[in-house]
């Protein structure tokens, strides 16, 4: 496993950019362009747009984002532990159980506090 093994990933990235760019480029070549003030209004079911576009979000979105960061980082800890679990044996199982207990306590706390309720 050397850095060269990552070269194909870069090649795929490049092709992804080419495919995505080709989509934009193709429409640039073929498109018809008739500008029109009314046409460029944001779509709001046919009526004139009212109010500010970038409104404030419900607090639930922020809560979800914070929960995600916490749990996703814990998830990242699970992966290396899972790979070596069998070779390390009992010690790893004890550690993983403790970790899951802490995680579960956190989830129970968040649950009790009502952060998982969508209002």
């Amino acid at each position: 496993m050397t850095l060269r093994d990552y070269l194909p990933v870069l090649v795929f990235f490049a092709i992804g950019l080419v495919v995505g760019g080709a989509l934009l480029g193709a429409s640039f070549l073929f498109r018809r362009k008739r500008r029109n003030k009314i046409k460029e209004l944001p779509y709001e079911s046919g009526i004139l747009a009212t109010g500010a576009v970038r409104q404030r979000f419900s607090i639930d979105f922020y809560l979800t984002a914070m929960l995600f960061i916490v749990f996703d980082i814990e998830l990242a800890f699970f992966y290396p532990l899972a790979v070596v679990l069998k070779s390390v044996g009992v010690a790893a199982v004890v550690e993983l159980t403790l970790f899951v207990v802490v995680l579960g306590a956190g989830l129970a706390y968040v649950w009790r506090k009502g952060a998982l309720e969508w209002r």
Binding site: M1, D5, Y6, L7, P8, V9, V11, F12, F13, I15, G16, L17, V19, G20, L23, L24, A26, S27, F30, R31, R32, K33, E40, L41, P42, Y43, E44, S45, A49, V53, R54, Q55, D60, F61, T64, A65, L67, F68, F71, D72, L75, F78, Y79, A82, V83, L85, K86, S87, V88, G89, V90, V93, L96, T97, V100, G104, L107, W111, L116, W118
Partner: protein, 332 residues
């Protein structure tokens, strides 16, 4: 020597992307045909025999659409968003194993982009980057529906990402590797992991449905309330970019599911890529069937389902697997 190796990689990558993009075009047709039949309609049948030229007709239509940017949009991000979505989806293809090594014209060729020891992690990371495409698209449109759709998809995707990540930990414990090729070989030596990890498979597929914005979890683009969600203002080839990213993600998720739980490319008689294609096809038909059957969830129930059912179940599954594997049963 290095140039030759690079050439091989380039050819492989182009072939893989070409095949997958063609599959995407016909996947859309397959979905419309199957949905039509399930709803007692014919589905597209006018362009060519059995409607087989429909993808070409769609492409021409997409290309000739007027390509405009709405007045309130952030010009740069609006153009960039679909490219980003496609980029992440294509990038994930690099680690999917389509088959084992074969010898072609005297060259030793691996039928996968690369075999990384962090393969699965790369797929999850790229699916995280793919979200930015949707979120930027919704944010940059300068449209209320698009912004609401983007906020919803952000919350939904991150919620189900956690459950998805946890549901595969059991497989990692059994295979003792993050490399997708190793996981396939480990299954070929023992049994398909769907037999040892049935709960993990179901959780993965449910979370996968939500990750790819498929019904019944397609809240980000719920047309009854949000018009089209994050891509309300998109049309023409930029819309095609989003559609492509969505279907490529579907192919990636089902390929990963087939690789982790259904033995991937391993199977008797037929060559590896054919086996993978069969498994992926079955899973995708399942996804289309679910779309035709299930009504859409309400948003609060969707979030509740992710955090209160999938997450605890996945954690429990992980703990039980750890106890069984770590304490030496089954002995291999």
């Amino acid at each position: 020597m290095i140039q030759e190796a690079f050439l091989v990689i380039l050819i492989k990558a182009v072939v893989v992307v070409f095949i997958v993009v063609t599959t995407f075009a016909y996947l859309m047709l397959l979905e419309r045909k199957l949905m039509g039949r399930m709803q007692l309609r014919y589905g597209p049948n006018r362009t060519g025999p059995f409607g087989l030229l429909q993808p070409a007709a769609d492409l021409v239509k997409m290309l000739l659409k007027e390509d405009f940017t709405p007045a309130g949009a952030n010009k740069v991000l609006f153009q960039l968003a679909p490219v980003m979505a496609v980029f992440a989806a294509v990038g994930s293809l690099s680690v999917i194993p389509f088959g084992d090594s074969v010898t072609l014209w005297g060259h030793h060729v691996n039928l996968y982009g690369t075999d990384l020891n962090v393969g699965l992690l790369l797929v999850f990371a790229l699916s995280g980057i793919g979200f930015y495409g949707l979120i930027l698209g919704g944010y940059a449109s300068g449209n209320k529906y698009a912004l609401l759709g983007a906020a919803r998809s952000a919350a939904q995707l991150v919620s189900y990402e956690v459950a998805m990540g946890l549901s595969v930990v059991g497989v990692l414990m059994l295979a003792q590797s993050l490399s997708l090729v190793d996981i396939v070989h480990a299954q070929a030596d023992t049994v398909w992991y769907i037999l040892l990890q049935p709960v993990g498979f179901i959780l993965f597929m449910l979370a996968g449905l939500a990750e790819t914005n498929r019904p019944p979890f397609d809240l980000p683009e719920a047309e009854g309330e949000l018009v089209a969600g994050y891509h309300t203002e998109y049309g023409g080839t930029k819309f095609a970019g989003f559609a492509m990213a969505e279907y490529l993600n579907m192919i990636v998720v089902t390929s990963i599911a087939a690789t982790l739980f259904l033995g991937g490319f391993s199977g008797p008689w037929l060559p590896g890529p054919i086996w993978l294609a069969i498994k992926v096809f079955i899973l995708i038909v399942g996804l289309i069937w679910i779309r035709a059957t299930m009504p859409r969830l309400r948003y609060d129930r969707l979030m509740k389902f992710g955090w209160k059912i999938l997450l605890p179940l996945a954690t429990l599954n992980l703990l039980i697997t750890a106890l069984v594997v770590g304490l030496g049963f089954p002995n291999k």
